[in-house]
């Protein structure tokens, strides 16, 4: 059946629903649930993503709603996670916080992965002086601990949501770029790349069609790990008071705000801290599933 086989060779044809793509998604889905651990991780992440979207629908109270008469209450039927020192419902804030942290960390990671991939591909493929200059510049950025670099940048940019996003991109781009570059270096001299080059393919084609697919497995695992670190970073910056500004329900900021009251209102600290821990564990477990999937 020559026609059919031809169709399958044009994967990007908008007119056709590619059966191999469906099976690939199904395979990915299957792999993400392939072990108990990754299934758990994926479930956790999915739950939080869903929560992030529907928080306004399911949260029993407003995100910053202050009910003075209910301030400082222990967990109860009315307030599942209790209330904080300003009379805000901790459960509602933890729900709202999911979107705050996942959105910011996700967007930051995506942007850093894109920038890092582009730079890594170019740098690794170009080699020579371009590569040297790029990598030494990134080395200088990487020489500083991520949090310290973030604090320095935020000191300059001023604390805000946008600044946190920019900081994440600046901090994580070099890391992603290094990983991508290392893979590029190993495949650059492979036969299929050479062949494409000799065929006179454009540099974009060689980079994105020949080299990028080899990078993807590593990149996916790296992206997933970066995402978990990004959650940590957003939470840490919130905790240090230099990231997202109050009264945002950022979990790190919530922990910071609850800290002086921990003796009397431990629940106001425990639940956001637990949310951070659970999401990070979930993402890590899922990252392992991603690795398994791509290695298969």
């Amino acid at each position: 059946m020559p026609v059919q086989s031809k169709m399958s060779l044009t994967p990007d044809s908008p007119l056709s629903v590619n059966p191999s793509r469906i099976s690939r998604w199904a395979g990915a889905f299957h792999a993400l649930f392939s072990t108990k651990a990754t299934a758990l991780g994926t479930t956790i992440v999915l739950i939080f993503v869903v929560v992030a979207f529907i928080a306004p629908l399911i949260a029993p109270y407003g995100v910053n709603e202050q009910i003075y008469s209910d301030a400082r209450q222990a967990p109860s039927a009315d307030h599942w996670f209790g209330t904080d020192h300003l009379g805000r419902d901790v459960f509602s804030r933890v729900l709202y916080g999911a979107s705050d942290i996942l959105f910011l960390a996700g967007l930051g990671t995506a942007m850093a992965v894109m920038c890092g991939t582009a730079v890594g591909l170019l740098s690794g493929y170009a080699g020579g002086m371009v590569d040297e200059i790029m990598m030494r510049f990134f080395d200088s950025l990487l020489a500083m601990p991520a949090l310290l670099l973030a604090l320095l940048l935020l000191g300059t940019l001023g604390p805000s949501r946008n600044s946190v996003f920019i900081v994440m991109v600046i901090v994580y781009t070099p890391i992603v770029a290094r990983v991508v570059r290392s893979v590029v270096l190993s495949v650059r001299s492979k036969g299929f790349v050479e062949a494409a080059r000799l065929q006179g393919e454009s540099i974009e084609w060689v980079l994105f069609r020949e080299i990028l697919p080899s990078v993807t497995p590593t990149l996916a695992v790296e992206a997933a790990l970066r995402f978990s670190y990004a959650i940590f970073l957003v939470a840490s910056l919130g905790f240090l008071g230099v990231g997202v500004q109050p009264p945002s329900p950022n979990w790190g900021l919530m922990v910071n705000e609850a800290r002086p009251h921990v003796g009397q209102l431990p629940w106001a600290l425990f639940f956001p801290a637990a949310a951070i821990a659970i999401v990070v564990i979930g993402v890590n477990l899922m990252a392992d599933g991603v690795k398994r999937l791509l290695q298969a």
Binding site: S34, T35, K36, A37, N64, E65, Q66, Y68, A71, H85, L86, G87, P159, F232, F239, G241, Q245, P246, P247, V255, E257, A258, R259, P260, H261, V262, G263, Q264, L269, F270, A273, A274, I276, A277, V280, I281, N284, L285, D288
Partner: protein, 542 residues
């Protein structure tokens, strides 16, 4: 579907790291807290003693030759300056207050009381003050104290440029020793608060000719410094030759430096220290009902000030500030942000602590959301207003900002909060520039200070850029008249005026907290922690 050994270890490792992080966060929460007391000082250039009403436990009348026992271990912030002319923090003043003596102290009812000066008289025109000095006073090095030491000290305070006292004492035209133990101050203009100025934090008497006050401690005070380890502690022993009979009653005082108030409170619980005076409302609450520790709080006139710049939009429209005042629920703020400790504010810096001057009939109008909305609409903000509220990250200020955001949202004011480290907020005078900000002001022994530096036209720290001819005239009257009735009237008018059109909101006055081991009695808290007096404190433990 099975975990390989390597992977399992990897999971364990990641899980472990995550759990350690959570534990660390929880631990840091337990051991650290906000490093600021609600009563903390923004600037302590002025004398600051007031309050000190409630006594933790009453001390007994001292014997003429008291047995000095026990060492009181006090937690305080590390000190940097030890020369009295340069001190400013609570801890620096606390140390100096026990090594040196003031001429005059201010008691809990804001009255001047004798210390090195035993009595004083004022000329009819209010321009000459003559002080008699105590007999039998000696310096720690054994030499006798005389009026010359006072003259030398005040000449140094008023002629050293760049010091807070240079401005404060610019009204003094002469200081003379009119006897061996008598000193006379001459003023250019009458100053009804001159005795309070004499009790300024820096006005500790040094021995004439001292050149090394920044490295040594030669005072006349109740304690002598035995050992000073910078950033660790300062150990003091009783001055056996102290001129006040029966004082001090302790054998020694150790001031142990803590950078962290929460750590100090933990040390108090654990018995490593005996007294902590700087702590947040939350930490103070956590010490209630702890066996072996007595807590107390006293009112002060320290406050958090919410102020709107009145020299440009939107604050130059009086309806805007009126609307914000009407949108604010002060009682809820006091209860939520300060947990009810302290006193309700009335938008003026003349708080209830100043019994004689505080006007109880000057009460801001109750919260009225509709009226506030109407005023904003009249001012051209019918569709709401967006404004950034700047606040330092210390004390309850971020909480205050969060509560205001919610309260003001109901009248259509959309507040964006910008929390800044205190050093950034006050650095480069940015706090004087922003439109809307929260500033903490410390307690002072008399109210004129606030008017002169914060509210009169062109004042140094006029952060709201308030300029009102009627207010300026009233403040001038209050600050210069020698007629007490006239001053009371002026202060009353000022309170009503500020409620009506002052671009400031003062939702509460702080309380000063203290917590002391039951092994000690006789401590009275002071509105300014640095001026706490350990002379009557005694050891009653085992």
């Amino acid at each position: 579907m099975e975990l390989s050994g390597t992977n399992f270890r990897l999971y364990n490792k990641r899980l472990g790291i995550t759990l350690i992080f959570v534990l660390l966060m929880a631990l840091s929460a337990c051991t650290r807290g906000t490093a600021e007391t609600p009563g903390e000082q923004v600037e302590t250039s002025d004398g600051a003693t007031a309050g000190g009403v409630e006594e933790v436990t009453s001390g007994e009348v001292g014997d003429t030759k008291a047995e000095r026992v026990g060492t009181l271990r006090v937690a305080m912030q590390p000190i940097v300056n030890i020369d009295p002319i340069a001190i400013s923090s609570d801890s620096e003043v606390l140390v100096a207050n026990h090594v040196y003596d003031y001429l005059i102290d201010i008691d809990s009812l804001s009255n001047p009381v004798p210390r090195l000066a035993t009595e004083w008289k004022t000329s009819e025109d209010g321009l000459t003050y003559t002080l008699e000095l105590a007999e039998g006073v000696t310096w720690h090095d054994g030499s006798p104290f005389s009026a010359q030491d006072v003259v030398w000290t005040f000449d140094r305070l008023r002629t050293t440029e760049g010091t807070p006292t240079f401005d404060l004492y610019s009204n003094i035209t002469g200081v003379e020793a009119t006897g061996g133990l008598e000193v006379t101050f001459t003023l250019a203009n009458p100053n009804p608060f001159f005795l309070y100025d004499l009790s300024d934090n820096h006005a500790l008497i040094l021995k004439a000719g001292t050149t090394d006050a920044d490295t040594t401690f030669n005072g006349t005070g109740p304690f002598k410094v035995k050992n000073y380890s910078p950033e660790d502690r300062i150990e003091m022993v009783a001055n056996e030759d102290y001129f006040v009979l029966g004082q001090p009653r302790l054998a020694g005082v150790d001031i142990i430096f803590f950078n962290d108030d929460a750590a100090a409170v933990e040390a108090l619980r654990g018995g490593q220290i005996d007294l902590a005076m700087r702590m947040s409302t939350a930490l103070f609450s956590s010490l209630q009902d702890v066996p072996g520790i007595t807590t107390s709080s006293i009112p002060t006139n320290g406050f958090d000030l919410i102020r709107l710049r009145s020299d440009r939009a939107p604050g130059n429209d009086p309806r805007v500030i009126q609307a914000l005042k009407l949108a604010t629920d002060r009682e809820a703020i006091l209860n939520v942000v300060q947990q009810g400790y302290g006193a309700l504010g009335n938008d003026s810096p003349i708080g209830p602590l100043y019994d004689a001057y505080h006007d109880e009939t000057a009460i801001p109008p109750a919260r009225d959301v509709e009226a506030a909305r109407a005023l904003l609409a009249e001012a051209g903000y019918a569709d709401g207003m967006k404004i950034t509220l700047h606040t330092p990250d210390t004390g309850g200020r971020p909480d205050l900002a969060a509560v205001l955001k919610e309260q003001w949202a109901e009248v259509g004011v959309d507040v964006e909060i910008s929390v800044e480290p205190e050093s950034v907020y006050y650095g480069d005078d940015g706090w004087l520039e922003v439109d809307l900000g929260i500033t903490g002001w410390g307690s002072r022994p008399y109210p004129q200070f606030y008017l002169d530096v914060m509210l009169v036209s062109g004042a140094k720290w006029n952060e709201s850029h308030f300029s009102d001819a009627e207010f300026d005239a009233l403040a001038a009257t209050a600050g210069t008249t020698l007629d007490e009735e006239e001053r009371i009237k002026a202060y009353s008018d000022i309170q009503h005026l500020l409620i009506e059109r002052g671009p400031i909101i003062i939702p509460y006055y702080f309380a000063q907290f203290g917590a002391i081991s039951d092994n000690f009695s006789g401590l009275s808290l002071n509105a300014f922690a640095g001026r706490t007096d350990f002379r009557p404190v005694r050891f009653v433990g085992n």
